[in-house]
Each structure stands twice: as C-alpha cells, then as structure tokens.
Symmetry: D2
C-alpha cells in the first residue's frame, strides 16, 4: 500500500535545512513506511533566497513569514531550522496550530524557554522531536543496543569531546546569516549549545541522567567584528567548555568541546567503560564502532573495530552491502524514518522536547558553573 503524504513546512534553508530536506527526500527510497514526506512549503524572510532553495530542492511553495506557514491548513509538520533564539516562539505557534514539530537542536535558549515549549507540545498533544541526529548513526545506535543488552555491566566512566578548529582566526567576524553561531544573541551560547549539547544528548541516552557538574568556559578571542553592527563587539559566547560530572548510575563523566583544537574539523568522540567491556566511537569515522569485550579469551583480548555495514547492524539492511559505508547525512534519513514510524501511530520519536530539555538543563548548569566556578546540581 502506498504511503500517505505528510506535508512538511520547512522554516530555514541553511546547512540544517539542506540536511533535513535530504532526509525527507531519501527516506522512502530506502525504507518501507506508512508515510511519505511531501515538500509542501519552505519559508524564510528573503523571498529570493527561499525561492532558490525551494527550486533547488523541490519545495512546492514558499512563505516569507513563518506565522503564515504555521497557520497553513496544508501543512502537517513544521521543521524549525532557524537560529536558537527563534525556536520557542515558532514552536509555541506550531503547537497552537496543532502541527507536528521537528525542531533543530538545542531545544531552546535556556531551560525556562524549553520548559514552556515542552508544556505547549504536551498540552497540544502534537508529535515532536529534536534533531539530535547522532543517535541514529548506526554505530551509535548499536552502542545503545549493546549497553541495553548489558554487555558493559556496571559503568564506571563516560567521556566525550567535540573538537573543531574553524574559529581560531581573530579576523573571523560574528553574527549574520552565516555566523550567527558566534553571536550570543542568536545562539544563546557557543560550543556548549552547539557541540556539547550533542555529546550530552548521546550521553544521557546511553548512560542515563547526570547528577551534578563543574565546568570551565573560555572565550579565547574577546572581540570580533559584528556583521550586523559593522563594529567590533565583545564576544559573548563560550569558545571552549569542559566539564566534569557524576551520572546517577555512579559513573564519572568528562566532557570537552572547543572550536580551537587545530587539526580537528568535527571530531566528536565518546567512550564508555564498564565492568565487562568498553565502547568507543568517532564521528570522523562514523561507520566504525570500537568494542572491547573482557569476556573474550584472555590472551586474545583487544579492541575490535566493527565496520558497521552489515545487514544485522541498525538500519543497515536497507542500504548497500557489507563493507560499503554510509555517511553523515544518513543519520537524518534514519531520524525521519523513525519520526514517520512514530507519527503514523501517534507515538513519540526521541529525543522529544522533554528529552531535549534534560540536555538543556545540563547545558544551563554547565554555563552557570563556568561563570561562578562551583558545582551545580541538575
């Protein structure tokens, strides 16, 4: 039976707009699903830019006012792909109009906003999800499976980092379309919301809730030209952030992110150590999962590099053949797949707004600890 149409309204057209749209367009080619996303409308303030985007990707229509898009009867689900400071307002309007919501991460500018958003979607009973896409990289999904199967036993350590190097130059400006991530007004925070939030989402998913944190934050370049004011302005974001934490299960956590780690383009790694085994993953080779199994015969123990491309690996029976890797964009295809499966049944697709609020709480605590140099309970 042919899948039913699910009309998508996309707000935004940047990097994430492209990645999500690609997910909508690819998912039914590879997965048998009850729903098929239809690219109904794309929206941005600039008619010219959004029309070009719509033409490139095949959106049927455009809007220049997100409120209109949100109110359109022919839209089933809204994808919020705009800077963080706009998430809340749009999400509340979507909920009020009964639209499903796929919101880019982080959920909000802070916990207060996030809580308001959670209450809105829960009250309106609209299906909602937040694009923490790395959960659906097959190797990461498989890590979750192995942990849930008890293969690691009691957990002692979790460590993760997200290292980039693209803002080292002092000549890089802040703000505006391309660089809103450096502008605290638009982004809320720097690497904490942009990068650490990914690490935290995965960590909580794999290892459970965090109890408390202590953090250090740093802004290496104190002033940058601002694209909106044309003047040198104080930089309000955190360029780097690291924190220590306890998880509720008694394990210790160690997290770090920065945009000043020369040589790392987008290195997101995590490692988790348990009584019976350990797991490691690295976004730079996202199709591999490293596994150490203490139950292996003693003299033969070693870290195994699992090439996560077999039919029995998560999501992989729908792609190519063993040995042939998929890439970054496929995590979004998988997210859409699970969202559609859930939406058809009215079931949530994690991380929901409520799940993402947990990450927001930790981000807020980390930023607060970075300011006053004390431990914070979550």
């Amino acid at each position: 039976m042919a899948p039913k149409a699910l009309n998508i309204g996309m707000i935004g057209y940047g990097f994430m707009g492209r990645a999500h749209t690609n997910g909508y367009k690819r998912v039914n080619d590879f997965f048998d699903l009850p729903l098929r996303p239809v690219l109904k409308a794309a929206c941005a303030r600039s008619a010219e830019k959004i029309q070009a985007f719509a033409d490139q990707w095949g959106y049927e229509s455009i809007e220049t006012d997100w409120r209109k898009l949100v109110e359109r009867k022919d839209i089933d689900a809204v994808d919020i792909c705009v800077p963080n400071n706009l998430h809340k307002e749009i999400a509340l309007a979507c909920a009020a109009n009964g639209k499903m919501i796929l919101c880019e991460k982080p959920l909000a500018m802070n916990v207060a906003e996030g809580e308001e958003m959670c209450q809105a979607v829960e009250k309106a009973k609209v299906v909602n999800t937040v694009w923490y896409n790395y959960r659906r990289v097959p190797a990461v999904t498989m890590a979750k499976q192995l942990i849930d199967e008890g293969r690691l036993g009691k957990i002692f350590h979790y460590r993760a980092n997200f290292l980039q190097d693209w803002t080292i130059s002092e000549d890089l400006p802040q703000g505006g379309n391309a660089l809103w991530r450096l502008d605290v007004e638009a982004a809320g925070s720097g690497v904490t919301g942009d990068l650490l939030a990914h690490c935290i989402d995965t960590a909580v998913w794999l290892n459970g809730k965090v109890s408390d944190v202590t953090a250090v934050t740093e802004t290496f370049v104190k002033e940058r030209m601002h694209n909106l004011t044309g003047k040198k302005e104080k930089v309000g974001i955190d360029d780097a952030c690291a924190f220590l934490c306890h998880f509720q299960n008694g394990s210790l956590g160690l997290f770090e992110s920065t945009r000043y780690a020369r040589g790392h383009k987008a290195l997101y790694t995590f490692e988790i150590n348990g009584e019976h085994g350990s797991l490691k993953w690295d976004l730079h080779d996202l199709h591999r999962l490293e596994f150490f199994d203490y139950k292996d015969e003693g003299k033969l123990r070693g870290w195994r590099s699992i090439h996560v491309t077999d039919g029995e690996h998560p999501y992989m029976n729908k792609w190519w053949v063993p040995g042939l890797q998929i890439g970054y964009e496929h995590s979004f295809v998988h997210h859409v797949r699970d969202f559609l499966e859930g939406a058809a049944k009215g079931e949530p697709c994690g991380p929901t707004f409520r799940d993402a609020l947990e990450t927001q709480k930790i981000c807020d605590a980390v930023l607060a600890s970075g300011k006053d140099r004390s431990w914070k309970s979550i």
Copy 2:
C-alpha cells in the same frame, strides 16, 4: 535556468540498479547541472519485480522486454545493469537506436565482445560510459589530481587488492538472480571481472597502461549447487586471482583479489609509490587519503591521513561541512554529475567503452595467464 530533462531507461533492478537510480535522483539536489535525469522506464523480465522496483524508486513506466525499452522514442539514455553476458547485445541495440549508454562494469565477457561494442558506439557516435564508480570517490579523484600535479615524481610501484569473504561456505549455491556472479555462464569470470576489474580501471587511470602480466587463479570450491539446474555443478569462475605486471612507465604492479579473505567485507586498497611521495587508499574508510610527502622536513616526515571532506577537495564543496563524511553511494552521484556535464556538451565521460576495453584486455590476459602459467603481453 532549469535543467533540461534527460530520460533514463533502466534495465535491471538489482544492487547496481538501486545504486545508479539513487545517483540519478540525488544529483540535481546537490549539483547545478544543465540536465536533470528523469526516471522514465525500468525494465526486467518479471513484470511483478520490475513494477515493485519502479514503485519504490519512482520510475514512470515499466517494460519486460529490453528491446522495447531500447526502441522507445522517449528514452534518451539506457543504463545496462544486467549480468555481463547480456551487455554486448543490449549495447549494440542501444547504439543502433542512437541511445546514450551507461553500462555496468565490466564492459563485456571478453575483449572480442568489448571491441565490437566500442566500434558500435563510436560508429553511432553515442555518448557512453562504464560504471567504474571508484574513480569518483573524492579521495581517489584527489589521488589522480596529486599524481597529475607531479607530486609523486617517477613511479616505482603500484599495488592493489580487493578482498572479500562471502563465498567461503561450500553450501552457498551458484547461479540465478542473486548469485549470477558465481556462474561463469553469466559472469564470464569470477573475481577477475567483478573485483580486479575495479582495481585495474583505477590503476590504468592513475598509472597508465600495463605492458604484460603473469597471474595465478584458483577455484577453492570446485562444485556448488546450481540454482538454475538444481544440481551440483562444476564451478567455472575464479575464486581468487593475483597477478604481477609491468606498467609502460616502468613501474611494477601487484594485484590480488579473492572472496576467501576472512575478515574483509569489501576491502579495496591501492598504494602507489613514487620518487617524491606515496599515496594509499582503502575503500573501508573511503573518505580518507593517506599521503607521504618526501619533501616534508626530514624529522617531521610521516604518512598524513587526509580527511577528504573539505570544500577544496574534489566534489566536496557541494556536500556538507568539513569533517562530515560521505559514503559509497556518492561515487555514483558524482559519476552521474560528470556524465550529465559531458552529455550536455556531447563530450565523453570516462571511462568510456574504449577506456574500459583496456581493462578488459588486462582481465583477459590475466585469465589466460592463470590458465597456461606464462607471461602475457597486453
């Protein structure tokens, strides 16, 4: 200006049918091109199977007789995705009908067939290409660029292998839809045409023509149940093949492929050593290129692992951001991209049939040498 439609007729619906179709569907989302492939018709003997494929991927119509497809006026280009023993006949018909041809590799069952096919397309002046897709993995394309820039200097060595492990069990049958690659009647050869042909195409592209070869071939499992006869039949293919060769530039070559290398799903590696530097690549981590530059300062020399995901790397300015890898399927998208660029101008897209004939010559010589244990000139 919107790209012009190029109507595709696809013959076949297997692994390669899917990979090529995905290429047609994605290419215009990411690349600005003068042409846009339209999935006009898909063809196979089984109406049921081809209809399911057409529904899944969005082909507008189906055919069950490839001759009809080839003669349809609304088809501009035919994609030949059928077992090797059918390539020649279909290609000749395409040429006779003035269709562009995208033919799955290897070109033909042997050089005689291949020569006939070359003459047909050259006489008919139809645009033609053969799907040796690995040339368009960005790291491989970049290897070509570095060699052409003279960074390796005089070449001494080229080595490549393609290792798999999926036919070790004696219980695996041969023949029929899924396993025609094990049936010498359909495939012409075993690993030589299936795997070594890829290694050879890349090698000739990167390092020039081969002068002579000496080979060893082996069939480890001598008899297998045949899916078409229902009986145990002699296995006619080569399970493993290795050869030594001289290239015309004076360098030595060493090639190996097998389906009996436990632990390797689809390991295709090559390495090339020159006076000034060396390059290595591995399909299992296809987004990386290893480079050794003797011109580096002495004490700092080492193999560099280049994560081929930057905007200045081949094809990569159209995908995501630095650090985010693409996968196997993107090589086909790039092949389609280059084919469309060429087709719009009436220019060839390598490897053409004539280019692929060079690989066929080497394959034939290798198989002959494997039989009579003597060196063969190419």
Copy 3:
C-alpha cells in the same frame, strides 16, 4: 678514554628496581659517556629477596638496612625505589651523606615532605633527579623540541589521560609488597600520585605551570581485604581522578586517570593544540608522534604519524636503523644517559626534586579539590 665508574646503591627490587637497573646496565653499550654506572649494592629488608635480585642483575653486594647503604663510602648515588612513604626519610639521609639521588616518582607523600626534600638536596648541593621517565621517550622529547621551536604557536588546549583496568575486581586485596599502590598509608594517594603525576610532569614540562584546578575523585571499591591486617579495610586511595585547569599561558587543561577503564592496560595519551598545529602521543604506541601542521598546503592537511625511529630523532641515532622501534624500558636508559652527562659536570638532570615539587603541588591541590569540590590555586 674509558668512562669513570659511578657506584650505584639501589634501594628496592620491584618493577622499578628492575627498570632502573636495566637502564644502568645498558646505557654505556649504546651511548658514549663520561661515567659508567657500577652496580655496587642493592638493599631491601629481606636478605633472601635482595640477594636473589642482586644475583639476577649483578649487584656486587647487598644490604638489609637502607641506612647502612646510604652511609657506605663506596656508594656515589642512591636510587630510591621504595613506596612513597619512605622517600623523604631516605632522601634526607642521602643528602646528609652527600650522595647523589635518583628518586622514584612521585617525589613525596605531599608538598610539605617534598619541600623538605628540596631544601635538603639544595643545601647539600647533591645532584638529584626524579624518575618521571616519559620525558625521555623519544616521541615525547621530540614533542618538547617542536613546541620549543614555536611550531604550535599560542597554545589553547592540553589534555591527557592515563587509563588502566587492573583493579576492577573487588576481590583484589590491598597492601603488602605487590599491592602497596592500593594502600593509602604507603602510597599517599591512588591514581593521582601513581598515574596523573606522570601526566602532570609531562604537561608542565611541555606547556608550563598550572594556575588553578578543580577536580573530582572517586573510590569505586570502598573496602578491600588488606594484606597486612588480613581484614577487610576501608580503601583510602582514589580509584579515579579527573581535573580541569588553567595553565599560566592561558590554555585550558583536562586530565583524567583511572584504574577502571576496561580495555586499557596502560594508556597514557596527551594532546596539545596550538594556533599553528597540534601534537598527540599514546604510550600504547610510544614510538609514534602524531603531528598536525596547519602550515601544510590546505588540501593536503592531515595528521601525520611520525615513526620516531630515525637518526635525527631524539636519542635514536644510538639505537638501530630507521623503522625499528624501541620500547618502554629505553626511556630509563635515556634518563640514565642524561643523568650521567649532568653528573659528570655537576649539572642538574630534570626533573629535579624542585621540578617534581611543582607536580606534587598540583597533585595535592587536585586531591584537596576532590574533597571539598572547589577550585584551588596552585
């Protein structure tokens, strides 16, 4: 000219006793030096055990009372290879007797002891060094050279960890000869003094002094059978410890060590990120140094794996030929080499007691912060 004898008195015969002795015995085979260590006497409380050790390694005589050894006229230098709680008393006696001192790390049980030791050796003007051996792994020495040459530019980040997994079992006892490292009375601390101290020594050497720290410490197994009392006793050491810090040069530091990281036998890694480049090292492959040079041509940038076995690499012109690696024990040979070079001229061989006191200060601050959960200035 034949090197002059330097008579060594060794106190202790454990793992480190063997490693140091091997250093003394090998150094003149490979390095041309003004002095030659002579294994004059070995000392331990058990006559039987120390005689066996002396026979195995070739010490000329034994003592069972370290005070006697320290007072012997025929001893030039004393090597202190006993548990941490004995370092101070022996070192003070050595200074009083005008002996050179090679003291196992960490320097002392705490800063107060360490300060007393520093004053004693400085007053007595005896040559002294502490066995932080990793400085003399050639790849680590080379990292120091590259940093001193300014190749990394301004430093932003330093991270290090030392991960082991040998104390996970709750059945492992504490205390006594083999397991004094688990007994807080003998060791002073757990992983902080045993493992982190190594990371800190290297860090301060490579990246300068630390300003302040915040730490978390954990004891996963709260009680263990004690080999000396025969009863279950509270475990007083830290099983795991992690800390964040600022260096005086403005960079951020992140350190972690544990004996509960399943799959890591003795993984000591560090990474340092600067404006122009980055360096990484891993004890598990100690003969390699990873280097990222931002000055490389853009499209060719990548982490280089430098196989530190060339004649132009530190210490390596005295060993084998390029490509042939040395191992763990050679770091001690190099330490002896530099100690002898210095001793002949009356020059210090870093880390001196005073250098090692800096590490002790950080360890003490880390342990204090782990207790009261606040930042500590150094």
Copy 4:
C-alpha cells in the same frame, strides 16, 4: 644454580653484530637459563675497528683472522655476522672445529652453498641456528601458536611484503663496509636475500612449504658508483622483487619487497586468511597482532588489535607489565634465550641451517624465475 658460561666468538661488528651482542648481554637479566653467554672474542680484519667494538660492548679479546677465532679452544659458539659471501667458508670451518654456529641470514649465497653447510653441521653434529629473528617477536610467535591451535582452519591466502625506501637516490654508491648489501658479489642478491628471505622464513614457519613460484625482479638504478673500485659499475642486485606462489597446503601466496617504496622505512607485514579467522602483523608496530575471529558473534565481528604485552603472551611474562611494549632488539634476546635452552640439551633451535635452506631454495627459485619469466617448482 648459576648458569654455565657459553663462550661466544663474534665475527663482524656491524648492525647485526651489535644486535646479537645486545641479545647475549641482556638475556640472563630477564630469563632464567642454564647457560650464560660470555663475550669471549670479537673478530674483524681491522684491528682498530674491532678493538673499538670490543671496548664498547665488553668483548674480552679480539682477533683479526676469523680462522684463528674459529680454532680457539676457549670459544664454544661462533656468531657469523659477515656479508653473505663469507658464510659458507666460515661455517664449514666452525663445523670442522666442533663449534656451535649462529649464522646471520640468509644462510648462504645459494642453495648449493647452503646444502654444503647443512651437511657439514649435520655431520659434525654441532648446534646451529640462523638469525631469522622475526619468529621471536612475541606477536609473531603468538600468530604461530594460534595457527597451531587450529584457530584459522583451512588456509586460503598468505601475503607478505617488506618495503623500504633508502636506495631511491641514484647518488647512493654500492659496495664496501656500509653498503655491501648493494653489491651483488658480497650479497648474492638484493632485496630477495635481504628482505624477502625474512618474509619467506616466517611464511614457511607459519604456513608450511611452498610448491612453486613465479616472480618479477627489477633493478631501477642500473649503475652506481662502487666504493671498492671507485668507478660507476653495473648494479647486479634486484632492487625490487615480487612473486606469486602455491603453498603445499593449497593456499596462495603473494610476496613483495623493494627498497623503492617511499614512506616505508622497514615495513614488514604479513597477513594470513583462513576459513575461521585471519591474522595480520606489521613490523612498524611490532607489539600488536591483528586478529579476526569468525566465531565471534555476527554483529560484533571485527579485527581485534591485540596489544601483545600481557604475561600470557609469548616471552612477555619476563619483561614489564601489561601495556608496556618492547621493541625490535628483543627478538634477538628471545632467539638467544631459545638457543641457550636448546644448546644446554643439545637440541636444535629453529630455524636451523636445514630450515633456512628451505628459504634459500625459494629465494633461488624466485631469482631464477625473475630471470626467465617462468614458474619454478621448489
């Protein structure tokens, strides 16, 4: 009980002279053995050079005529560390004088010489061994154990290469003390005897005898200044050599060596693929063994990197602690250990001359095949 002295007479003082001597000096420090090598005499034509060597390493006396050394009553075992063209004559004299022999590899200039040597030692019943040291790298020894335990099952493939890059420059001369390996008169062959011989010895040890071979050899630089004649002379050695072979167990072999592989200092790798598993090893990281076990649970299969530093790994219970690697030179220590164990009991220590003759046969066949381009039976 103290070990009995075994008086060593060393002929030669080059790279191998140092490596063997180090083995003699270290072995009793680490292993409990019935015999202890005593460095009785060292011999070379130049009194000045051999005296310096003897002083450096502690040989008690020197000789300048190897015949004298061989006839000395106080010498128990002779170590032949001279160019290949002198092996036979010295070995015959040793046998005639009833000396044990430790002969540097390859055994001889050719099979005829080797056969004569075998007959001499067998007739004289003197203990003999050839320094194919890589058998005693713990990871390689462990590979042998795993194969003997049947863990790989039926073997399909064996591949090995030994790649260097130190003779690429045309300005490098040939001949004389340092460069006799480039002089066919002294060396007999180039990479075949120097490098491939190592690969072959390991292969035959691990995978059994070879049936037949076909080879290609190449001399890239045709003329080099000769250090003995002072003139440009034809280069008679093979710069590169590759061959294909069948093993008697039905598996296929693929071997390559060269001194023109830019970026490889001394890369010796082998891989063996069997029905149930595969093994890989690389001299550049000699303390690791890669193992793929098909018996692992399907979704968890992957290559394991075994850090061969545990007490249960071959030879490793005598060195340091898990995680701390040993290096190249330790393979010689282990060879001496096994030689002494055997010598005490009058038992052979493989590879014996007879074992090494098997390697010589294959080398001769490879060189002959390289000349006349035909398959050769062994």
